[in-house]
Symmetry: D2
Subunit: 278 residues, 4 copies
Amino acid sequence: MENRARVLIDCKDAKGLVYKISKVFYDRDLNIDNNREFVDKEHGRFFMRTVVSGLFDTQELLTELKMITPEDAHIRVIEPKDKKIILMATKESHALGDILIRHADGELGAQIECVIANHDTLKELVERFDIPFFHIPAEDLSREEHERKVMECIDQYTFDYIVLAKYMRILTPVFVKAYAQKIINIHHSFLPAFIGANPYKQAFDRGVKIIGATAHFVTNDLDAGPIIAQDVIPVNHRFSWKDMQRAGRDGEKIVLSRALALVLHDRVFVNGNKTVIF
Amino acid sequence: MENRARVLIDCKDAKGLVYKISKVFYDRDLNIDNNREFVDKEHGRFFMRTVVSGLFDTQELLTELKMITPEDAHIRVIEPKDKKIILMATKESHALGDILIRHADGELGAQIECVIANHDTLKELVERFDIPFFHIPAEDLSREEHERKVMECIDQYTFDYIVLAKYMRILTPVFVKAYAQKIINIHHSFLPAFIGANPYKQAFDRGVKIIGATAHFVTNDLDAGPIIAQDVIPVNHRFSWKDMQRAGRDGEKIVLSRALALVLHDRVFVNGNKTVIF
Amino acid sequence: MENRARVLIDCKDAKGLVYKISKVFYDRDLNIDNNREFVDKEHGRFFMRTVVSGLFDTQELLTELKMITPEDAHIRVIEPKDKKIILMATKESHALGDILIRHADGELGAQIECVIANHDTLKELVERFDIPFFHIPAEDLSREEHERKVMECIDQYTFDYIVLAKYMRILTPVFVKAYAQKIINIHHSFLPAFIGANPYKQAFDRGVKIIGATAHFVTNDLDAGPIIAQDVIPVNHRFSWKDMQRAGRDGEKIVLSRALALVLHDRVFVNGNKTVIF
Amino acid sequence: MENRARVLIDCKDAKGLVYKISKVFYDRDLNIDNNREFVDKEHGRFFMRTVVSGLFDTQELLTELKMITPEDAHIRVIEPKDKKIILMATKESHALGDILIRHADGELGAQIECVIANHDTLKELVERFDIPFFHIPAEDLSREEHERKVMECIDQYTFDYIVLAKYMRILTPVFVKAYAQKIINIHHSFLPAFIGANPYKQAFDRGVKIIGATAHFVTNDLDAGPIIAQDVIPVNHRFSWKDMQRAGRDGEKIVLSRALALVLHDRVFVNGNKTVIF
């Protein structure tokens, strides 16, 4: 049966990898619809993403690729189908709304399982789209207690990624570890400038002429995980910090949606604290 | 009673206009919260937008400003309240959806009266937001007949602007004249490049390295009305024209929403076939 | 005699300033060729830049403006003529070269008095343009001794601004104080990200997707003075830090030259640790 | 002897090309330092650029690659050394000056053989850099006569590319044909907007909010050759067309230099009327 898959390989670099891998595809008479590779010379790591089509069995292909790549190779053969995501938010609607519209349009490339928020502000909006909304307030709870409730909610679902669409609480190491490399955040500044709280106020106080937004994987270092996408918006002395916030929102939502599309299309490799994006 | 208004003046340029106008505000003890002016030297025209607050009667202020400005002066004293808009669309949801989300959030600065579309694709989305949706199909109708039906629908409402959120039909001079300077369109190219049909296909065929989007007032010259806002998105040889279209949508919706915000905040003067934007 | 000047006023905000100032111009029958003002509401400060032409005596105009503005007003009436600048550099030619070409073209709006460098790498280039080049090596000197020599060289000249065109040494408070608000620097990052040494290496290590450049006035806080202009350049995982440096140079030189043009045309007010730019 | 080369292949697409080509490199024990490929599906063409190092004979490598690629394959094995270029200009110094500074710095990656201009305005600047300057005035000559003189001058040199650094005359088909795919031009607009004379005036008259610059190969269709690089600069209603021209120059010179770097590093394939850029 005609098949199509994204083959993702990352491993330590070695001579002849492109040859050996493309030989596997050639011998099996597969079409290469798209192919990109990159060698991180600093760390001696090889990354390759190939879209192949033809007659193949996923498991057999995986086994064969394992045989001709270094032992440490991380190989994935992924069928291009919709992934499942969980959204988390607080009060602001722009980033969440952008994803909801794309979802309603069928453009997102993912099924939204549910939205979890620590306020109920967005309940009405989310329910307009017939998506389950869970309001898990944090009042009177310790950070750990609140997160435990959130995790209980999350763990009802199988999912590929958790998308923090302006979820304004800091996550504990327990949470981050539980969903390692699965949490995508949008930070409302051009990282690493203005880490932490209220970056627009920080940007205003510093008098910058450009503000930005950064989508990244969440790690235990606050706002310091691997960056997936960034964008910037020009500002000037006429902007109050509220104006910067308003203008910045457009950047935030576009950058988050762009990063999400890259991740959902399996275009992103995490490489230490960086990303390789094809 | 404490009042607040946007005073917009455009007239032929003359010596002392800033002085005379600011004297009116000063004599009435009004605060100037914001003030910008511009002289188009090529055509000898003066433009000024001032946000004033204090105790005043709108009509009296208007009369007094009339007295000290040239005869041709177009003066508006506008209270900053939500305007009313009508949206028109066809099948694509991104530009419309962006406006719907801002509207639901209370961020738009306008009340959406209804959405009119020549297809019913977007009906479900619009009705999720409890906004009237009118499907006026164009099949089996002449352009004039179809427009007459659209105009009948529009004319049930009082409104400030008609926003073409990817309405993919060309409007006749009759329609354009009926709502002169009230129709805002988003064109999916960096005008004046790629006027007309399928600009992404045109851009792809030309092999450009940057695509764009342009929000403009609609006039009878196709895609040639006064430009309000533009933005661009980098592309490369890997982009099919469908990829360009997909990437371009983000630019389209952001540019349209930005232009709409400018118009709704009375920041845009039409100056011949150009705009002055404060 | 027909005259033309840039009038720059900054003072604490008060009602009627625009009226009172424009009255002075009106009473003297001056033309306003360009006018912009701004009120920093956070600090209650008023900024205005007006280009006037007509028959006037600079000193009289100044006196009259003094009379109608708050006591703390800083008022300048500046004839639009070429300013004088001193350039400082180290080894890299791109930022310096960009200024030299503009100077040779007559486009710069300034006379370059001399170039001072702590290496002799750029001597040949500078002398091609018949501009005095002073090589003041820092080897075997304390920071203070070296700076003293640089200051001796500088103090031979009358000048308006010192432009650090990639001068790669940190200046002491003595130096900065001696030429307060007269030193313009280009920092090779999007400040406040990557303050200090080798920002491209820092940017590479952090895995950012956009790099930047920032022109600012120099104060005693390293890379923390008022920002005049910023720009950004997209990068990706294929960029080594040397590639980032190479790509970044284009941004650096353009941002520095743009900031310099703003300063030389008296378009920049320093407002605490920020700038107001008209 | 250890060798290093850029291998460029373009041919009609066929199954197994990546495999077959990488096999050649593998069998010869060459290192692949960098590799990129692209398939133009619309036209069924394959493009590949690989940087290889190791022990090889260029001619042998070429022969072997010929054997395993389609008959129409255009294969180049290029040693990475400085190319030779001829610059043509008219009166403006910015684009030319940018190249001269990079050349003086050793950063250009090319040897400038000479500068040819139809005015003598730039003579002094060019001679500061000890580069031959030929003033070939067009007055009293037919276009053909003038070009014949220019071509005589050009034909004294061996060179790789002719760079039109704001050469403001239209070239005849005879000239273009003589140096096919060797002439790079910078057009001072965001093509295909504003083809032809004085694009800044056209942009001003149209009231655009963004201006641009486009570097492209010259073909017989005016400003319609394959685009190599583009960039944009924001403008607003305050810009006269002279201001646009001034602001646009920064874009022009950066885009031309960027395109030139791409071409000189053999990163550009011409693909019909488009480019593929690695």
